[in-house]
């Protein structure tokens, strides 16, 4: 990309201290998000997708430590910025939609009041106009009868409705970047489609950039401009969506595609990925996919893990790419 990206994550490494040793959750994670771009992060559980998002927002668990790297957003390195500075950014410039809206919302506060809290903290709005704006936001996320929904508690709303409230909270101050972590997991397919359509519309209208984190390859394929594939705390491949699916270069990406059900594929064609995501404690090989890989050669044991350019805006972390 020739222009300066909106978010530039560079060599981000995160460790967790646990009783059983240090978990190297992220190692040299790098990717960029352009203005108005939708980037998907995919991978199996334990690949570090959510940790990446939490690190960018500076809301990691206290046991976690950022050991290296930068995450530059609009000229500011979020990883070294002070908490006061971050607090100004979160909610206004950067916001996040969490996986389970019911647990992410405050259960004992009406949802309209929760939206007002965000507006009062971050938006330059007269107190008298806040309520009006909160109701307008509820209408914007297509909640029927927003004036009534304003007074509802999360338990009175369905999962899909709670997720719409979460979206209203997240976009209340028109952020430049929205991080959506599995925003539709646990929702019905029809609701899932409606929610993603809604987020997509909002993003297009206000040129909002988005990071969509999911384990669902089909979903990122339909919704994202570019995809970041993660495995065991590494970014193994990044590429524009069509290119990634047409010509995956990392063996793991190819395996992930081959294990995803799709039309025209029978059960016999569906191939599992051998092995499991490795234990991230202790000494790890430079390539963490090495133990599962059928293309590995002796050189794969030698550090460092390469990051090759496989085309315009296409990188692959493999010595023997496809």
């Amino acid at each position: 990309m020739t222009t300066v990206p909106l978010l530039d994550v560079d060599d981000l490494s995160v460790e967790f201290r646990t009783r059983d040793g240090v978990v190297r959750a992220l190692e040299r994670v790098s990717f960029t998000v352009g203005r108005g771009e939708t980037v998907g992060i995919v991978g199996e559980s334990g690949s570090g997708k959510s940790v990446t998002a939490l690190a960018i927002l500076g809301i990691l668990h206290p046991a976690a430590r950022v050991t290296a790297g930068r995450a530059v957003f609009g000229g500011l390195d979020l990883l070294t910025a002070g908490e006061d500075r971050l607090r100004e950014y979160r909610g206004r410039e950067l916001s996040m939609i969490f996986q389970n809206p019911r647990t992410a919302l405050n259960p004992i506060r009406p949802v309209g009041r929760q939206i007002e809290d965000v507006l009062l903290r971050h938006a330059n709005l007269a107190r008298a106009r806040v309520r009006e704006r909160a109701i307008a936001l509820l209408a914007e996320v297509q909640i029927a009868d927003p004036a009534r929904a304003y007074h509802a508690y999360p338990f009175e709303l369905s999962g899909g409705m709670c997720q719409r409230v979460m979206i209203a909270l997240a976009v209340a101050c028109s952020p430049a970047l929205l991080i959506a972590d599995e925003p539709t997991t646990g929702l019905d397919v029809t609701t899932q489609a409606a929610i993603l359509e809604l987020i997509g519309d909002l993003a297009r209208r206000s040129r909002m950039a988005m990071i969509l984190i999911t384990h669902d390859l089909a979903l990122v394929g339909e919704r994202c401009d570019r995809i970041v594939v993660m495995h065991a705390g590494h970014v193994v491949e990044t590429a524009p969506t069509a290119e990634l699916f047409a010509a995956p270069r990392h063996p793991y990406t190819a395996r992930l595609i081959a294990s995803t059900p799709r039309p025209g594929v029978t059960l016999a064609d569906l191939r599992p990925i051998p092995g499991a995501v490795p234990d991230l404690r202790g000494v790890l090989p430079p390539c963490r996919y090495r133990p599962r890989c059928d293309r590995a050669i002796a050189a794969c044991e030698e550090p460092p893990l390469p990051r090759l350019a496989a085309g315009a805006d296409h990188t692959v972390a493999c010595r023997v790419p496809l």
Partner: protein
């Protein structure tokens, strides 16, 4: 009519010679729950009829609240129906009270695999104990040596290494836990296996393994499956036929390819169009010439059918109004005064909509 695969005489079951009757026949089955503090009822399952042939895999799809789980709990006889019949292998099991079903001979023959293996395995039971439990309780094989051998045989069948039998659930991976869940269910030679979202808690890499295992077990043991899932791609992979439920009623049923490729009920069409599909773009010339592939796919998607409105209330629904009316993009005046019944729209393919037959497929 579908018959069990020829190489699979249902284990432990005497299969009659000639065209066998269906394993499961459900007729006008209903379950209404009283709404507390009122005289109203919630119609969770309302007048559902279908059959399951021996050796068949029937998929059951629909959104949450459509009555899938209640239907499963009626079939597995954990709940008493409000009305209707459940015939299992020729016997009317719907009349046996749920409390007494635990001792009924059919109890061992209907087994279930649950959604989240971490939640559905007893954390204090080793894999061995979990698999042995139904044998002890239902098959009465309490003698130590044969029990040990049976458990090991079943573990081998599901691909669970023998050395893992002494482990507790937290010492097993998600895939291994689900193998234990499947082993427990097939330990007593069931004829009907109910699979309730068996892979939704697993990663795609492991999901494929479990799907292969389930398909293989069905072939080898001749079991009949009821596969409940919200993932239409999976239902299509594993099932022969599919039932689509909406607010307590079956709105469409038929062979998976017919229903998914040519859905006739507007709800099924909405459901099918909402499923994300992994489209692999093809590139002309060599697969390396990445420059030639099309622009990013975002924005250039298949047309989606959007459902407006709110679902109708399942509480005391009007018996003459189509349950989908209000959300249906094609609803018209007749839908409000007459409940559409299931009627044939193709070979073995039924749909409950006034418009089917009048529109071209």
């Amino acid at each position: 009519m579908r018959l069990a695969p020829s190489d699979s005489p249902a284990s432990g079951t005497a299969v009659p010679v000639g065209p066998a009757p269906p394993l499961v026949e459900v007729h006008e089955l209903s379950k209404h729950f009283a709404v507390r503090g009122t005289r109203q009822s919630l119609y969770a399952v309302d007048g559902v009829s279908f059959t399951m042939e021996r050796g068949e895999c029937v998929g059951l799809v629909g959104e949450s609240g459509c009555g899938k789980s209640t239907l499963v709990r009626l079939l597995t006889r954990l709940l008493d129906p409000t009305g209707g019949r459940i015939r299992f292998d020729g016997r009317d099991i719907g009349v046996v009270p749920a409390r007494r079903f635990a001792t009924a001979p059919e109890r061992a023959r209907i087994q279930m695999v649950f959604q989240d293996p971490a939640d559905s395995l007893n954390p204090r039971f080793t894999a061995f104990d979990t698999i042995a439990e139904p044998m002890r309780r239902l098959a009465r094989t309490a003698d130590r040596p044969p029990l040990r051998r049976r458990v090991e045989d079943v573990a081998e069948l599901v691909g669970l290494p023998r050395e893992l039998l002494g482990r507790f659930p937290h010492q097993l991976s998600g895939g291994q836990q689900q193998r234990v869940g499947i082993a427990r269910a097939i330990a007593v030679d069931p004829a009907l296996l109910v699979l309730d979202e068996p892979t939704s808690a697993l990663d795609v890499s492991v999901q494929a393994v479990i799907l292969h295992l389930l398909a293989d077990l069905r072939r080898r043991l001749g079991m009949t499956y009821l596969f409940v899932s919200h993932d239409l791609n999976l239902v299509r992979l594993l099932s022969d036929r599919v039932l689509v439920m909406y607010l307590g009623r079956i709105v469409e049923s038929g062979p998976v390819d017919a229903v998914f490729d040519r859905p006739r009920h507007p709800y099924t069409r909405a459901l099918v169009s909402a499923v994300p599909v992994l489209d692999l773009p093809t590139i002309e010339a060599s697969p390396r010439s990445a420059e030639r592939c099309s622009a990013p796919t975002a924005g250039a998607r298949r047309p989606r059918m959007r459902l407006g409105g709110e679902p109708r209330s399942p509480i005391d629904p009007a018996p003459t109004v189509c349950r989908f009316y209000g959300r249906c993009p094609e609803g018209f005046e007749r839908c409000e005064r007459e409940m559409p019944e299931l009627r044939p729209v193709g070979p073995d393919h039924l749909a409950a909509c006034h418009l089917v037959g009048e529109t071209t497929p």
